[in-house]
């Protein structure tokens, strides 16, 4: 029975928009799926102890590159998004290669990547003549609004299916990494770099592979977010706050299990939405207040996260 559970769950998720189409819950679901994908992208490398605080930067690149290519050169997001993906991957190589080559690890890696998110945020703000700066940016609507060519859809169902597909692909990538040699190499590296190198692991190359993969996925999440929301601002898709938000959601959900980031996204987004809907503007700040306390408690008492701890409990019993 448990073997078929993922397939049944997947079928139920695919079937959902054909029986239930209330716009607001659909919107929340789409947002959850997109962010789940972004968090999954982070956890692909984060689970090996490569804590990056630069993923806000990659997400911002993905979102802005897609939108700018569309508005200025009329490049369809079908080409723009892969370009944005490449840009994210390239940036990852430029920053991460020297990091790994010179063995900048742990704290230092986190702080160097923190500088990266800072740079991306400041560049977007500083080039306000092109990107709208902190006021945000909107990709132009293509004709009537719904267009396959422009990757713009007014219906929620289409977006739901797209987001679901990308999210599932993200999980598949996680799974493939989990089953690959790369995983064993990276686990060895996270235990002991010198030992891994002595055992024949190409430390720099293996770390670079996973970082580029993770950065490209995050850039795709940014592009997707931009196409769905049709509005991006430096504070919602880039910068240090977004990076920390990713780390936080993954830690709460569970960093070592495939669905952990998704659980993290569900919890954080639902918490924010429930507070917003029930308390309105009075709730400003309360969601982050709860997140912050949860994050501290989780790191101290449940470092495996909610889902990770539940699964560990089930296995133990």
């Amino acid at each position: 029975m448990t073997r078929y559970l993922p397939w049944l769950g997947g079928l139920a998720l695919i079937g959902l928009p054909f029986v239930y189409t209330a716009p607001y819950p659909m919107h929340i679901l789409i947002i959850i799926l997109i962010w789940s994908f972004a968090y999954t992208s982070w956890s692909v490398m984060g689970r090996f102890g490569l804590v990056s605080l630069g993923h806000g930067g990659f997400m911002g690149i993905g979102a802005y590159a897609t939108a700018l290519a569309w508005n200025y050169w009329h490049i369809s997001p079908w080409i723009g998004a892969p370009m944005a993906l490449l840009a994210g991957a390239l940036l990852a190589v430029v920053v991460a290669y020297p990091c790994f080559r010179f063995r900048i690890i742990g704290h230092y890696f986190a702080l160097v990547t923190l500088a990266l998110s800072g740079i991306v945020l400041q560049v977007i703000t500083a080039t306000r003549d092109y990107t709208g700066g902190s006021l945000g940016y909107t990709p132009e609507r293509y004709q009537s609004g719904s267009s396959f060519y422009a990757l713009q859809f007014t219906g929620k169902t289409t977006w739901y299916l797209i987001a679901l597909g990308v999210w599932a692909a993200g999980l598949y990538v996680w799974h493939r990494v989990d089953r690959s040699m790369l995983r064993y190499a990276l686990e060895a590296i996270s235990e002991d770099e010198d030992g891994a190198a002595a055992a024949g692991v190409h430390v720099t190359l293996e770390k670079l592979k996973i970082t580029v993969l993770s950065a490209a996925m995050t850039a795709l999440a940014g592009a997707l977010y931009c196409q769905y929301q049709m509005f991006i601002s430096p504070d919602t898709v880039s910068g240090i706050a977004v990076s920390l938000q990713m780390v936080f959601a993954v830690v709460v959900g569970g960093i070592y299990v495939p669905l952990g980031p998704t659980v993290g996204a569900v919890i954080t987004i639902l918490l924010a939405e429930v507070l917003r809907v029930s308390f309105g503007t009075r709730a400003v700040g309360w969601d982050n207040l709860v997140y912050g306390i949860l994050l501290v408690i989780f790191i101290i008492f449940l470092p495996k996260g909610i889902l990770g701890s539940l699964l560990a409990l089930r296995r133990a019993s």
Partner: protein, 289 residues
């Protein structure tokens, strides 16, 4: 001659003064890192709370400014101790990155606590210090004050670290945290003293920053990251390195701001940081091995 352009000179001078502020900011963080080996990501948020403290004491309750400053410094020092006892102490044995992330949670908490309690409006002290005018240049008095305070703070911390028993014990702990407790130093007490000292320095920075900047719940994000980068660039835990790095960063920001926009100044500073990490990783990370 272009080099002696008055604006350039003014920018350079302002850079030096900004460097003083940044040096003061990085002082407490450096101390914490050097001794406890923990990065307080929420350090800037402690400063933010200190700034709110100043605002409420001075502007709302009309306390004398020196008394308000003293209360703030003590209060933030107590916050530092609380942070250590509640969050850092349970994690001392855990992976370093967990401590960094836990203080990240505290960052969220403090930011939103400030939002909930004080609202998102910008608040300012309503006190404007005069601007000095010398040789055709404008120099902000509050920046000068922060610069002097940073120097005095440096000297005091240096004297404390080298001339007192506790200071010596702190330096000893920073060198070897396993052996020193065997020598009869109470390491828990030393950590508490260091956290209080780091918090106190954050409080001092808050008192001086609030003279120049408006306070709002997210003010920490505007100078927090640059503070970490300064500490890393100057070798985490190394006071002199931090001081030098603060001035280098400040000059880059000031000159970038003069020729382009202020944001570009920050972009150059961040980019410079990343490049420096690659160019001189061994010099910057002398403590790591």
């Amino acid at each position: 001659m272009a080099i002696f352009d008055i604006f350039l000179l003014e920018a350079l001078l302002n850079g030096v003064l900004l460097g003083g502020v940044l040096a003061l900011l990085s002082l407490g963080l450096n101390l914490i890192f050097g001794v406890i080996d923990v990065v307080w990501i929420c350090y800037a948020e402690l400063i933010m709370l200190g700034m709110y403290g100043m605002y409420f004491l001075y502007t709302v309750y009309h306390a004398p400014i020196v008394a308000a400053a003293a209360v703030c410094i003590v209060a933030v020092a107590i916050l530092g101790v609380l942070l250590h006892v509640l969050v850092i102490a349970p994690l001392l044995g855990a992976a370093p990155i967990n401590q960094l992330l836990a203080t990240g949670g505290v960052l969220f908490f403090l930011q939103s606590a400030a939002t909930v309690l004080f609202g998102v409006e910008f608040k300012n002290l309503g006190l404007r210090l005069p601007v000095l005018k010398a040789a055709g240049m404008f120099i902000s008095y509050s920046r000068l004050l922060a610069f002097v305070a940073a120097l005095v703070g440096m000297v005091l911390v240096y004297l404390f670290m080298t001339r007192t028993y506790t200071g010596t014990a702190i330096r000893a702990i920073a060198q070897d945290r396993q052996i020193i407790p065997l020598m009869g130093v109470n390491s828990r007490r030393i950590y508490l003293v260091t956290s209080a000292l780091g918090g106190g320095l954050a409080g001092l920075a808050a008192c001086l920053l609030v003279l120049q900047y408006d306070v709002h719940p997210f003010v920490g994000l505007s100078f927090g990251p640059i503070t970490f980068l300064i500490c890393v660039l100057g070798s985490l835990g190394n006071f002199v390195g931090g001081f030098v790095a603060a001035f280098v960063f400040a000059e880059i920001i000031a000159l970038g701001g003069l020729y382009l926009d202020l944001e570009w100044g920050y972009v150059f500073a961040f980019a410079f940081f990343i490049v420096m990490m690659f160019v001189r990783p061994e010099g910057l990370m002398a403590r790591r091995s």
